[in-house]
């Protein structure tokens, strides 16, 4: 290849340097937050004068933070289940159906990815006002489902398209009913797509803040909403601790998704 890395000579050093700088630019804010969460300074002083787990203790002693954590987790969990189930059924229709307007329907399902989130949030807020769903668990789940569903549909549709339909047909010829063939053969065949649909649906809800701010009530606040709210009142290192937990969970799930993809390729 013309731009073979091993033949770049002196330019190689420059290239490595640029890569390191870009990586640092992307990672430093995260590392800073993680470092501050363990720092002993009350005023988020950097570098931290000493190290402590005090902010984590404070965090786990505060029932409001715990409640937000549970709220976020419960909403994300329900959104994940619904998003995968609906995404699975929609994907079967979109990849195997032969009805008119199939492509238009696929595009419609994916619009929440393109639409500015704030527009979606305002629209959902106005709509849910009439249904008295604002500030409720159901409202939160429905709103987050809208943004999670495109991830599910993309992941599951891709997996279904790659899955050779003759394999399902073979199961039917073997004596399985069409439903049994889907459950025993097709679903295991697309399981990687299902898992990544679940991971991305969970994350779509877990770290979503714009819609959540519109949906939240004083008694029902997700973690990102409480971080945002607390931040406006005071700058406590507890926020750094919460953020670190948020980042850790997100990173763990992303790593899992990457691992599965690598596994599928080998």
């Amino acid at each position: 290849m013309l731009l073979d890395f091993s033949r770049l000579g002196g330019w190689r050093v420059a290239l490595i340097l640029i890569a390191l700088l870009v990586g640092a630019y992307l990672l430093l804010p995260i590392l800073l937050i993680v470092a501050l969460s363990f720092g002993s300074s009350q005023w988020l002083q950097f570098p931290p004068p000493g190290w402590t787990l005090r902010w984590y203790e404070e965090l786990f002693d505060d029932p409001e933070w715990i409640a937000s954590f549970l709220t976020s987790f419960q909403i994300a969990a329900v959104v994940t289940v619904l998003s995968v189930l609906i995404g699975l059924m929609a994907s079967f229709g979109l990849t195997r159906g032969t009805f008119r307007g199939r492509e238009a329907l696929r595009a419609l399902f994916l619009t929440p990815m393109i639409l500015p989130v704030v527009v979606l949030a305002v629209a959902l807020y106005a709509f849910f006002l009439r249904l008295h769903l604002n500030g409720t668990f159901v409202g939160f789940v429905l709103a987050h489902l809208v943004i999670a569903l495109p991830f599910s549909i993309i992941a599951i549709s891709n997996a279904l398209e790659r899955f050779d339909r003759d394999i399902e047909t073979a199961a039917i010829v073997c004596g399985a009913s069409p439903l049994e063939a889907k459950i025993r053969v097709t679903l295991p065949g697309i399981r990687l797509g299902l898992v990544s649909a679940a991971i991305f649906s969970f994350l779509a809800s877990w770290d979503e803040v714009v819609i959540a701010i519109f949906m939240a009530s004083p008694d029902l606040q997700t973690l990102p909403v409480r971080i945002f709210g607390t931040l406006r009142q005071d700058l406590s290192p507890v926020i750094a601790a919460v953020s670190t937990i948020l980042i850790a969970l997100t990173a763990a799930l992303m790593a899992l998704a990457a691992l599965l993809r690598k596994d599928a390729r080998s």
Partner: protein, 359 residues
């Protein structure tokens, strides 16, 4: 007695007729091959038997009973597909066990049958492997074991070897023949490869444009083709333009464009005197000799090419009116005079080996 009875089956997709009025009777234990070019309706007919398509006309009866009302999963028919269709998340043994498990057979019966089937396809050692760890040939053998695990009375095979290379294909063909002998299962095999069709089957049904052109033993199709399509599709053939000079019953005298003629050729068309026709002769039924007047049918030609390819000599000769004829002679057979390119040679054949088709 007829086991599988295909009666006047048709299938159209919109305005396109894929299969038109196909009738065929297949005996129990027979190995029948559907041969034909792509789009000839052979696979569509197979899919109607499997239950993937519903015929637009006609009936399909298995053992005296119409199967059209039954969905695919209740037809109890075995099938091996063109593409690899092993269940990727199940081991070889579990793949073979699958049809038995959906039939809720007992654990003891399942493991006994799986063992028996893997022994049949000689893959006992691979029971615990995953499909991705097998070669293409091994995967198709497992697919065959899976299709036979529930003792289906009828096994459908849809070009199962087309993804494999030639050597492997021949190996598995031998396996399929052995398994057919050992199990006695009735097999319907689809292929576009005439060699595969001739070497595997008891009888061949040759499809073209959604119809069956001819059904018979491979030998019949080769030696006694009913139509020009059959003659052209099965084996190599030479077609020579000619005109029918006189017609007597099923025989005719013909005249070639240069005025020379032949008498008493078997005729396979309702052609009257004066109409254009084509004379078909297999390249291996021709003889070459020095240009001396000889008895029997023949033409004077010029040798235009000669190739030696091991077992046979390939000659190309050009007739007086410019048509090219291919001749194949066994290399071991003694030739009184080995011709050189450009030399005049007499092309001759036995009257019974030539056939005449209307143009």
């Amino acid at each position: 007695m007829t086991f599988l009875d295909i009666r006047g089956v048709s299938k159209s997709f919109g305005n396109v007729a894929a299969v038109s009025d196909v009738s065929l009777e297949i005996a129990r234990g027979e190995f029948m091959t559907f041969l034909g070019p792509s789009g000839s309706g052979k696979s569509t007919t197979l899919y109607m038997i499997a239950g993937f398509f519903e015929p637009t006309g006609g009936d399909i009866r298995l053992d005296g009973r119409s199967i059209l009302a039954e969905p695919s999963n209740r037809r109890n028919i075995g099938m091996v597909f063109q593409r690899y269709t092993l269940f990727p998340h199940l081991s070889v043994a579990e793949n073979v066990a699958f049809p038995l498990r959906v039939r809720r057979r007992s654990g003891a019966e399942v493991s006994r049958k799986v063992e028996e089937m893997l022994a049949l396809v000689r893959l006992e050692r691979f029971a615990d492997r995953m499909p991705a760890q097998l070669s293409g040939g091994q995967q198709q053998r497992v697919a065959l074991a899976r299709a036979l695990a529930y003792d289906p009375p009828l096994l459908l095979m849809d070009e199962p070897l087309s993804a494999l290379d030639k050597k492997l294909r021949e190996e598995i063909q031998a396996e399929i023949r052995r398994i057919h002998r050992e199990t006695g299962v009735t097999i319907l095999y689809v292929t576009h490869d005439q060699e595969e069709a001739l070497s595997l089957s008891d009888r061949v049904a040759l499809f073209n444009h959604g119809r069956i052109e001819q059904v018979g033993k491979g030998r019949d199709l080769y030696d006694a083709p009913h139509t020009r399509f059959v003659a052209g599709f099965v084996g190599h053939s030479n077609f020579l333009d000619c005109t029918i000079a006189a017609r007597r019953d099923v025989r005719a005298d013909i005249v070639f464009p240069d005025g020379s003629g032949c008498a008493d050729i078997p005729l396979h068309a309702a052609a009257s005197s004066g109409t254009a026709a084509r004379l078909m002769i297999r390249p291996d039924r021709l003889q070459l000799a020095a240009p001396v007047p000889a008895a029997g049918p023949g033409i004077d030609t010029t040798l235009s090419d000669a190739t030696f390819i091991g077992e046979t000599f390939h000659f190309a000769v050009t007739t007086g009116w410019g048509a090219q004829v291919n001749v194949r002679l066994p290399a071991g057979a003694p030739m009184a005079h080995e011709p050189v390119i450009g030399e005049r040679v007499r092309l001759s054949w036995n009257a019974a080996d030539a056939r005449l088709f209307a143009d």
